[in-house]
Amino acid sequence: MDRVDKMDNIPAIKLSGLKKRYGTGDAAVDALKGVDMTIWPGEVVGLVGPSGSGKSTLLKCLGAVIEPTAGRMELAGDVIYEDGWKIPDLRALRRDRIGFVFQAPYLIPFLDVTDNVALLPMLAGQDNASARKRALELLTALDVQHRAGAQISQLSGGEQQRVAIARSLANHAPIILADEPTAPLDSERALTVVRILNDLAREYRTAIIVVTHDEKIIPTFKRIYHIRDGKTHEEAGEGRSI
């Protein structure tokens, strides 16, 4: 608990003046024009904005998939980017410290449920037995343990999304980036997914950023970042209980 308390004093994500420019010269487009953002461990924060506002670019920067052009980015207290400097192994950073949940679950269709979740710890070097044990723990936490041996094609959309969430947590990532995780789901299932994300954030002290257009779930966030024309501004959400 001591570690958790310490960690709670350090922002899970801290962005300062983050900029991203695509192209050069006359063709240059500034997708992010100095984003500031602080997200604490255990928080579930909404990121909303119209198409073309820079949501995807911000998510890709946060996910260490693309490199910002300027600014500073810290994950769990570690600087991973600052004005042109970046940590060398972004792939390991993604594997060990960032969980991803996508609009579609994007599970690996040729692996069963357990191995989809266990793959991440295995990639990090864990042996098969302990990786599968961890996967079963997460599947139990997400109430899909009964489908542990099933093929992905045998799962419903909601079950697939839970498995995807389990995968994002498999390496104890302090940050989860969820890109429209409820888009393909009906209201009931969408709210269930949000409840699960909130429970996991609380239980594992994980910071979760949910990119969404979904009007059903926006009222559930306590904090919302609006992004427009490459700039964010924060506002308090309703924090409606589910």
């Binding site: 792939r91 594997r95 996508f102 690996i108």
Partner: protein, 400 residues
Amino acid sequence: MINLASRDVLHGWGKFLFTGVGLGLLIGATLTMGGVFRGMVDDGQVLIDNSGADLWVVQQGTLGPYAEPSSLRDDVWRGIAGIEGVAETGNAAYLTIQMAHNGKDTRVMIVGIEVDRPNRPGAPPYLIAGRPILQGHYEAIADERAGLKLGERVKIRRHDYTVVGLTRRMVSSSGDPMIFVPLKDAQEIQFLKDNDALVNERARTAANPAFNRPGVPGLLEAAQASATQARSVNTVLVRLTPGTDPATVANEIQRWKRLTAYTRAQMEDILIAKLIATSAKQIGMFLVILAVVTAAIVAFIIYTMTLAKVREIAVLKLIGAKNRIIAGMILQQSLALGIIGFLVGRIAAGLWGPAFPKYVLLLPGDAVAGFAIVLTICALASSVAIRAALAIDPAEAIGG
């Protein structure tokens, strides 16, 4: 670590297997082409081996008797038999003909051998049924691929022959089955003209003032009689006493008898290096083309399979899978496809090989080399897909 390649293959095993079978049929065709070439070489080799000779004595300056026509008088053996180191000689005549049998034409090589005693050079070294030729005329020993049965009578040119023995793998350098007959019969088949031709030839000779001189009685009859005699053979096969150097005897024959003599090594060179050189190049070209086509097909299949997994590969890269894991998955699948293809191809070649009209020889060494080549081709072909996979942007997993 989970083996991603095997999981992916097992997930869509039917499609993968069918693809492997299709590739296997192509590999089978390639192996068969190699087998056809080996069969041609082996046909030449067995022709040399089964003749039981150490030297082939032929008309001076020819590559006879198999690669070029050669004609010798059938008594030259007497002079050859007297040379030191010669153990035995045998006249032989070779003629490839189209023989009518059971309502269809069969191409066979007629071999005339001396039948006065067994195991003369040129005689078939073993029989699988029946007995050797014992009579001086109208008996035959046939290779089993000629389709003749023991005791069957078969018409060759003007006479009927009784099949008294059957043998195996006695074929010409072209793979045509051999039919052994007594030398005199073979000479007649090869050199003697038909009756109409003889009548015409006699009239022509009689009209020639050089042969029909009023002051030289008996000249015309002598000239006409010579036209009805068949006293030529194609080669004299020579067996040497143990320890004799074939080259030395060959030199002696060439020097003193004004004939050409080939050693076994020289005859192998004629039959294998010269006679089938063009065919070998033809088959070699075809094998190269098939190898290139195989590589292109494997590359295309693996590339298509990889492109079908763009999203999965993007996710794998996004969640931190190293390049070598992704490359390994593609390489292993390519190799697995090659292994399935090779197994199917080898089995297919083994099944359809015997149905080919010519001998198809599938050597284990060739199979091993073929397997290594297939795996190399698959590994190289996978590089295209690996390059494509490594170029996939992990951002594709996050909404493009």
